[in-house]
Amino acid sequence: MQHLIEYLVKALVDEPDQVNITEVAQEEATTYEVRVAPSDLGKVIGKQGRIANALRTVAKAAAMKNKRKVYVEIIA
């Protein structure tokens, strides 16, 4: 899962070297904290959060098989 989020986020930004994904596992869910260069924030959030929401939807779908709840948070 982390690989998928990392791949997509790195492909969306101008500075892939500054992408950092942290996995925070809780009891019922896993949260992926996404950090990018400040200049790339718009590239992973999008207008009205459209890109961030698409990332969340894709992550949720990819976690269906393992019946795991996942959250994707963009950390500014």
């Binding site: 690989h3 998928l4 269906m64």
Partner: protein, 175 residues
């Protein structure tokens, strides 16, 4: 088999055909490569198969034992992945390449379901002579409904609201 023949081969009993990757240009190959990398990164059993090419559009199926549960069933996961992939590919290539994703015949099943619902709502609108709204849908799905109901002389359709809440309204036509 040519791309043209491919685009029309929607018969349910027909075996799906795939395009030989040697027929693709460099930018189209980039699109396939992107989907291959996405599938590998997901750790799931799925892989892209090119079904047809129509102008700028490249139709890609996600196949494999995990494709159904991940992309072929859950509401808008396919649209979300398609949106992200088109954003990414537009950065990577110079020509116009538009990726259209499908999995497990989701698009066709979804279209059938939407059409049935649209006809049902249209029937109610005519009976009650009152407007009715659809739930918010992406543009290509709204278009399906507008096209389907365009020839019905008793109703009109339009969309209102802004994405992601934009939705189709069906209203009775005064005669």
């Amino acid at each position: 088999m040519t791309a043209e023949e491919n685009g029309t081969s929607l018969g349910e009993s027909e075996q799906p055909v795939s395009i030989d990757t040697t027929e693709l240009n460099a930018d189209q190959r980039q699109a396939v490569c992107l989907l291959e990398e996405v599938c590998v990164a997901s750790g799931l059993d799925c892989a892209p198969i090119v079904r047809s090419l129509q102008g700028a559009y490249i139709y890609i199926d996600l196949a494999g034992s995990d494709a159904h549960i991940t992309w072929g069933r859950m509401g808008h996961s396919l649209d979300a992945l398609q949106f992200l992939c088109n954003l990414i590919i537009s950065h990577r290539v110079s020509t116009d390449v538009r990726i259209v994703l499908d999995s497990d015949n989701y698009r066709q099943r979804r279209a059938h379901a939407l059409e049935e619902k649209a006809l049902e709502i249209a029937r109610e609108v005519k009976e009650r002579q009152e407007e009715a709204e659809f739930e918010p849908l992406p543009s290509h799905e709204r278009r399906l409904i507008h096209t389907l109901l365009a020839e019905d002389p008793d109703i009109t359709t339009y969309s209102e609201g802004d994405d992601p809440d934009r939705h189709v309204v069906i209203s009775p036509k005064r005669r």
